[in-house]
């Protein structure tokens, strides 16, 4: 199907129509209800739905638009996420030049991803930046507490930039012509990841007593975790049409994405707990910061990419 001059596979059109349809229905219903009987919860719901609109339109632009647009958008999201994580972390004044350098790694990393320089992409942050940032810190000559900064800055770069930039590599992955292309893969990944959050939350609310990580995030239960990953596996199986995967492979992908989503969420929760913050920022109304939304996708993206390479490139 042709949308705005871009050839869009029909599977994508179906999924995106459903998403935008649900959002429209939600927006309309919440507004009607709020007009009849205004309440704080409805205002909150409307704010949240508006943010979802924003996110959905951004994702649609990445999926449908040209690869360069997707690269710029996702690269900017990485930048916002890194800025957010650096803003809440505790640093020394001597770390400023290393912080500056870490921002510079973003355009380079996304350029490598866009061009499909796979090897350089793989080692740029884990090797060059993981050596470069400590070297810059050493050159400032301030050694007190330097070890913390040496590990903190590259790790934040890893979480926000390296992980997410794998999304752009999906554009240059060789997928069979009869599939829904890179757009389908991205939609598959985002759907599995975000619905996994919803499933884990819902299962945890429905039945769940035994906490899985009581000291990190007290809301997570074993029932939520297990119910979540099983439901996500089934979702992955149902969405196999978006990918060139077989049913069995899509099921395995859904399962692993569920586990990874949970782990990513827990990592960010632990960082927030250490800093005694509820949200990483107040950027997205009703959702908190960018990292509060991205927490699960940062781990699912690279794992999904490498699973695809393993399954398809055989």
């Amino acid at each position: 199907m042709n949308i705005l001059g871009y050839q869009v596979p029909k599977e994508l059109v179906v999924v995106m129509s459903i998403v935008f349809g649900v959002l429209t229905v939600c927006s309309v219903i919440f507004r009607i209800l709020a007009k009849r009987k205004p309440s704080k919860m409805l205002t909150e719901l409307i704010v949240r739905t508006n943010s979802w609109w924003f996110i959905a339109i951004g994702v649609a632009a990445v999926v449908i638009g040209p690869a360069i647009l997707g690269t710029i958008l996702v690269g900017y999201v990485s930048f916002v996420a890194l800025r957010e994580m650096l803003s809440i972390s505790r640093f020394r004044e001597a770390d400023r030049s290393a912080l500056f350098a870490s921002y510079f790694a973003i355009p380079i990393q996304y350029y490598l991803a866009y061009k499909g320089y796979y090897e350089q992409f793989l080692y740029f942050i884990p090797l060059i930046m993981f050596i470069g940032i400590p070297v810059i810190l050493v050159l400032t000559g301030k050694t007190k507490r330097i070890g913390v900064s040496m590990s903190l800055i590259p790790t934040m770069l890893m979480l926000t930039t390296y992980m997410l930039s794998h999304l752009i590599l999906l554009f240059s992955l060789n997928v069979p012509d009869n599939s829904a292309g890179a757009g389908g893969l991205i939609i598959f990944l985002i759907m599995c990841t975000s619905f996994n959050d919803v499933f884990q939350f819902t299962w945890g609310k429905l039945m769940g007593q035994k906490k899985i990580l009581p000291n990190v995030s007290p809301n997570k239960t074993w029932a939520g975790f297990l119910g979540g990953i099983l439901t996500t596996s089934i979702l992955g199986y149902c969405l196999q049409g978006l990918t060139p995967l077989t049913g069995q492979q899509a099921l395995i992908c859904g399962f692993i994405l569920g586990v990874m989503g949970f782990l990513g969420d827990s990592i960010i929760s632990a960082i927030k707990r250490d800093l005694q913050l509820k949200d990483t920022d107040d950027l997205i109304p009703g959702h908190g910061g960018a990292m509060d939304r991205l927490d699960s996708i940062i781990l699912t993206t690279p794992v999904f990419y490498h699973m695809l390479r393993f399954f398809i490139a055989q």
Binding site: R83, S87, R90, R92, E93, R96, L99, F100, Y103, K144
Partner: protein
């Protein structure tokens, strides 16, 4: 001419740059609705403070709002002086006043009488990062001389890390410009007014918010 230049310059360049790249957030800008003349008072940590407050003002108020800068620092060359007055409407004040020259208070009071608004940092210079120094008396005297003009307190958080004192380059980190409601001083004597102004700024800091004007270690 300059009026439209300032509007466009701030709307197309300064505000997008501050909000999208640096990460500056403006809170409660509606406080200026219906205000004609005001004195914005803020805590001072960085050279970045003035441009951020200017950008946070509604476009219609830009032309009439002036910043005050130290002439002996910013006016060293005529180029930097004219740039300051072009972009910030800045008035350059010489801190080492010769005998016979009008005092700073008189100069500012004259501009207020002509209808200008001001951005003032009652701490004077930027001082130690994150520490609010004692306020200079000038703000209280100006408010007393112009009882019809309210002051608008601002709490700036984060600018001391974006561009600390004595540092050359800016790094993007989230920072906030939070406006309070316009206030008229209740007391008459200078010291009580100064305390009122200081309390108004401090009260804008949320209790659960970390002071990000300084680095942690």
């Amino acid at each position: 001419m300059k009026k439209y230049f300032l509007k466009l310059f701030y709307a197309l360049i300064v505000r997008p740059w501050l909000q999208l790249i640096i990460g500056v957030r403006f809170e409660n800008r509606e406080t200026f609705d219906g205000l004609n003349q005001f004195i914005v008072v803020a805590n001072h940590n960085s050279h970045f403070d003035t441009v951020s407050i200017m950008a946070a003002l509604p476009s219609s108020k830009l032309y009439n709002t002036r910043a005050v800068a130290a002439g002996d620092y910013f006016g060293k060359t005529s180029i930097s002086g004219s740039l300051m007055s072009l972009f910030f409407n800045a008035i350059l004040i010489n801190r080492n006043r010769q005998k016979g020259q009008p005092s700073t208070i008189d100069i500012l009071d004259g501009y207020l009488k002509q209808g200008s608004s001001f951005i003032l940092f009652p701490e004077g210079s930027r001082g130690k990062p994150g520490v609010m120094t004692d306020f200079k008396k000038g703000i209280a005297i100006l408010l007393e001389k112009n009882p019809g003009i309210p002051f608008v307190p601002v709490y700036l958080n984060g600018f001391g890390r974006v561009l600390p004192k004595d540092k050359k380059f800016i790094i993007p980190l989230i920072c906030k410009v939070r406006f309070g409601e316009p206030l008229f001083p209740k007391n008459k004597d200078v010291d009580s007014v100064l305390n009122e102004v200081k309390d108004a700024i401090v009260s804008l800091k949320n209790t659960d918010e970390r002071d990000r004007n300084q680095f942690d270690f």
